[in-house]
Amino acid sequence: MGACAMMLVLTQCSACKEPQEPEGNTDATYIVHWITKYGNDDLIQGQTYRDAFNRRLLLEDLRGYISQVALIDENDSSIVLKDFALMNWFADPTISTAAQPAKIKALRFSLGIPAVYNTSVDPTTYPNAHPLSVAGAAGMFWTWNTGYIFYQLNGKCDLSGSENQPLIDPIAYHCGDDTLFRTITLDIADVTVKAGDAYQFNILFDAQKCFWNDQDTMDLDVDYLTHTSGNLPLALRAMDLYQSAFSIP
């Protein structure tokens, strides 16, 4: 029995083992973490919050594509951590990648899918695990000529102003169109990350700003539905608000 186990271990090692990491790690590990809030509260799926008019609203789905997530170093060159990711903002999202050590001065990522990938690549050509495949898009894809939904917020609110009626009035912002593609650059105090080190950058996502900020306020009585096509003005506003939800805490 012992011999058998021994042999097992041996054969396992020689045949099916993952290649070993080279001695001495020359890379740094970069972690980007989004802290998700609704105003002062934690962002939780199914939770009831308040809009700018103190009406109750409930968030059911809050997702978005981000692309070209990168760190900007002291020479203004970017270290790309991720090409595309579909973020579920309820899920405390984190991205982590090993890359060369550097002195980092800013974080950059885009909201949406760059035009060259948005409508000109057939999503069925990606493997199913890819975030841009139809399966990977998990509903964040319309049809072959309209491209991806960059940002999707679904929920319900109560327009009657009551405190106890069930929330049934719909909210649906489905934004996606090349004109809605946005890039966010967030400056930070310089950080030097050395080989072998792991460093976590935090970004705040405040979902309350998806409904109002200093410039604009959604009135859910009228501003409750856009699938981009047919209501581009509201989609543009929703995208602007969404963009303003990201900051350095």
């Binding site: 058998c4 054969t11 139809v134 509903g139 049934i168 699938h227």
Partner: protein
């Protein structure tokens, strides 16, 4: 004793892994631990139709001609049921889009369930199975109907026994898995392989997409409605008097479903069947069901998880009304804004387009018919 044989089996299995790295190790769910050996099988030449995504075949269950053949026999095998009276095909009949024309299917002894049977079509691309999506793979899903008291109501051990005594099966299992050993896992793998080959891509819609068919005016208007935002612009921001079907019955991958779960407004309350909630226990999932494909929809009646509608006209009337508001109804349903407000012509145009999803070659494909006959 048991432990010892398991241990040796494990050694052999791991050894095999170490040497070839390509064999599947069966979990010890039955009396023996035996690995599947696919070395003498013939790879099944799966044709992925134009504009379909790749199909993910699980590692432990490569698609082989022998596996598919065995799966077809098992799919149509009445010995899978307690009194040898029904097969999978009894509730998934080819002439009804591999579903059932009865609102609720009769299981062994005529027992009725509370859900409509589901069409089996292009399931190799599905990520969830059953109306509530409680199973994540075909291999898991297939184990269920046999032991479900409202379906086949049989014990897998008995099924294995019955199949072992049937001269047909031991050689078929040997051809597919390398030995005559019959296990429920092997049976499920074979049926899953068979179901993966059940591909429909011959509808007018498929042909139109590859330039081999031109829609009639009526069909084209129906297609435009299908893909246009619903509602009157006075009541719905961006409304364009469309039918809004594409949001959930999407066709980016030609499947006419987004494969996700929605509440399309059938009811105010969901006590009768909470749907997806039964799997996730998340109140936000109450009343949500798997969006069914609309392929061959003309042959799938009756419609919805409880088969409440008998015609497509009734289905469209439902969507036209906007549905019943509830806390989980989908925001695409126009329940607060007077429904879709489709004209009589628009309704018949929409049905004309839905009929473009019919693929009779699929329904009549001899490769899917009962091989025991």
């Amino acid at each position: 004793m048991k432990l010892r044989s398991t241990y040796i089996g494990l050694c052999i299995a791991l050894l095999a892994t170490a040497v070839g790295c390509k064999y599947d190790i069966m979990e010890e769910d039955e009396k023996t631990v035996e690995r599947d050996d696919f070395s003498n099988t013939t790879a099944y030449n799966l044709q992925i139709p134009p504009f379909f995504p790749p199909m993910d075949i699980p590692n432990g269950n490569p698609l082989t001609v022998e596996g598919v053949t065995l799966g077809r026999y098992l799919f149509w095998e009445k010995k899978l049921s307690l009194d040898n009276s029904i097969s999978c095909g009894s509730c998934h009949a080819p002439e009804h889009n591999f579903s059932d024309s009865n609102r609720f299917s009769a299981g062994v002894g005529g027992t009725l369930g509370n859900r409509q049977s589901m069409p089996l079509i292009n399931l190799g691309w599905a990520k969830y199975f059953f109306w509530d999506g409680r199973r994540a793979t075909l291999e898991e899903q297939i184990l269920d109907p046999v032991e479900n008291p409202i379906e086949m109501h049989e014990d897998w051990d008995n099924v294995v026994e019955k199949l072992a005594q049937d001269t047909l099966y031991p050689p078929l299992f040997k051809a597919a898995f390398g030995s005559t050993t019959i296990t429920k896992k092997r049976a499920a793998k074979a049926i899953a392989s068979f179901i993966r080959t059940m591909i429909s891509a011959g509808s007018k819609f498929d042909k139109q997409r590859i330039g081999q068919y031109n829609f009639t005016d009526e069909e084209y208007r129906g297609f435009v409605l299908y893909t246009t935002e619903g509602g009157s612009p006075d009541q719905v921001p961006g409304g364009s008097f469309g039918a809004d079907c594409f949001h959930c019955h999407g066709f980016g991958d030609m499947q006419m479903t987004d494969g996700l779960f929605h509440n399309n407004g059938l009811d105010f309350h969901f006590q009768a069947d909470p749907g997806r909630y039964m799997t996730t226990l998340n109140p936000l999932d109450s009343g949500k069901f798997k969006t069914p494909t609309l392929r061959n929809i003309a042959y799938s009646a009756p419609y919805m998880h409880d088969g409440r509608f008998t015609t497509l006209a009734e289905v469209i009337e439902h969507y036209n009304s906007g549905g019943h508001p509830s806390t989980t109804i989908d925001s695409f349903m126009k329940f607060t804004s007077g429904g879709l407000q489709l004209s009589a012509t628009a309704k018949s145009d929409l049905i004309a387009f839905l009929n473009c999803l019919t693929d009779t070659a699929y329904l009549n494909n001899p490769a899917f018919r009962d091989p025991h006959e």
